[in-house]
Amino acid sequence: MDDGIIIKSSQISKRLLLRYYPFWFFFVVMIAISDMYMRQGSIVAVAIFILVVQVYTFINYGVVVLPLNVFKPNHKWARLFVMLASMLGFIILLNILEAQYTGDAGLSGFGANKSIVAAIGKLHVGIFIVWFLYIEEQQYVSDEIAKQERAKRIHNEKRVLESHLKLLQAQIEPHFIFNTLTSIESLDDVDPQGAKTMQMNFIRYLEASLVKVRAEVTTVGQEVALIRSYLDLFKVRMGERLEYEVDVPRDVQSLPFPSMLIQPIVENAIKHGLEPKVDGGHIHISVRLNNGVIRWEIADTGRGMTETSNFGVGLSNIMERTESLYGDQSSVVVEDNFPSGVRVILEAPHVRES
């Protein structure tokens, strides 16, 4: 099967030259010299022999093996077949050359055995070529697979860790804690009751978020409670600039749902939608269960977004998470709200606990 191995020819030839070429060259020279003694041939014949083997190997590699590698990286049998064919081709080529240069009189020293010796010699070289190419390549392909798999694994692990960290960070952002504590402290002078309510909200929020970060799955109702306490905290700070309503039917509240999937969307709506707008605005959240699909809609009347706005950092995180949780069965849609602001619609399958 083809699982996305990228093989680049420049890499292969560099490895070929650097790692194996000296051995290969040495071996061919040895064969050529022993062949010369057997045939009592000349230095020129040895040189020609060496040159032919080198050129043949490279042409073979470049024309046959490389394209095979690039287009069909994991077809072992196809590769073996091509290599055997190239060995046969090599032996035929040598025979033709020999006949040309020596006129069939080259092997004088071995009498009746000369053709057998010559055949063994050629077979030897041929087998070596095949062996060399095959080993080199196997090694390269398996190295490459291992390398890419390792990279993939590390990447995955990193992603899981990152998303976990981001979750944690989202909850205990110092900015948020400072602002909330400042608000509580200053309310204490003017409106002690309000300060108390806010403190309770803050505790509820911290509690819920810590529990939620630890547990992977909670319920729709718990997520809604978390969002409510988050919004209430902002309500104190933003005053009449923030209005919100949450519409969740009772029967939907008990459905299991991944933790912290919706809260970052609400956070986005406040941070990028309502806070930067002079008059603030309205957030409307609704949850419905339709044909086994849980559908969240988070709409704000804030400043809206543009193609370059940073709005998306939290959102693309959520998209990634829903994808890894549900794959194709989920969807996250971000669109313009009418008359202003952003609407996010998240659909996830209702997974019954077995």
Binding site: N179, R241, N310
Partner: protein, 258 residues
């Protein structure tokens, strides 16, 4: 100093009411003579208050809707002494270092506030010339601008089923020119947008998207295999896709970068 006719007059600008009242009560506790004549809820209000009320000092929150504290300061440079107020944020603090401006870190503790007030009192009156101040604010704005939205596209805006939808660029596999428009391909869908390939290639992050052909931009993250087997001709295939994209010779250098 109490009882003096010309008491120091200040305004406070912050979009959050609790923040305003907090700063006000803290300021008055360390500087009882200070007269806070008005509070602004946003940058636009702050600007008009500075211009009409002519306070001696303006305490400006950095992050405000309408205009940021720094924008207000720049537009009213020379009117009064500016003290910035900023929430815990390493970047903002780093921006203030080495600049001749005062700032208060939120939430303001009495000790820190006392120091700042002392400095403000000492400096009050011998403020730099307005032009110099506006240059300082200009510089601050430039430093803060690094925080602004990226200059590359993060979203592609497309009309789908009657609504304007935003698709994150990370989800896009490739763009293909389509009779003056551009077809956008994600794993699940195909959309048509009005931008041309040339426009997109200017607006997309060149580190993430490769323009491999006059009419094709691919997401580098999705490149599955590149072949350069046949005489310098590169072909690109994307993950999970059967289409083969040709790389024109003039963009072939992109492949060498990989």
């Amino acid at each position: 100093m109490s009882g003096k006719a010309n008491a120091i007059v200040a305004i406070i600008a912050d979009d959050e009411k609790p923040s305003r009242s907090h700063l006000k009560s803290r300021l008055l506790s360390v500087w009882p003579d200070l007269s806070i004549c008005a509070e602004a809820k946003n940058g636009i209000e702050a600007k008009s208050m500075i211009e009409t009320l002519n306070p001696d000092i303006a305490f400006l929150d950095i992050k405000m809707p309408g205009l940021t504290g720094i924008e207000v300061a720049r537009e009213t440079a020379g009117h009064c002494t500016i003290v910035f107020v900023t929430a815990y944020d390493e970047f903002a603090v780093a921006a203030f270092e080495n600049e001749a401006v005062d700032y208060i870190l939120k939430p303001a503790t009495v000790e820190r506030l006392e120091k700042t007030v002392k400095r403000i009192k000492a400096r009050l009156g011998d403020e730099a010339a307005p032009r110099e101040m506006s240059e300082i604010f200009e510089r601050l704005m430039a430093k803060m601008a690094k925080d602004a939205p990226s200059r590359y596209l993060r979203w592609i805006k497309a009309q789908i089923n009657g609504s304007v939808r935003f698709v994150p660029v990370e989800k896009i596999l490739y763009f293909k020119a389509n009779q003056g428009y551009t077809s956008v391909f994600t794993e699940k869908s195909e959309m048509l947008i009005k931008k041309t390939i040339a426009e997109l290639s200017d607006e997309l992050d060149p580190g993430l998207f490769f323009r491999i052909h006059r009419g094709t931009i691919v997401n580098a993250k999705y490149i599955d295999s590149v072949s350069d087997a046949s005489a310098g001709r590169h072909l690109v295939r994307l993950r999970g896709r059967s289409e083969i994209h040709r790389v024109s010779r003039s963009y072939a250098y992109l492949m060498k970068r990989m």
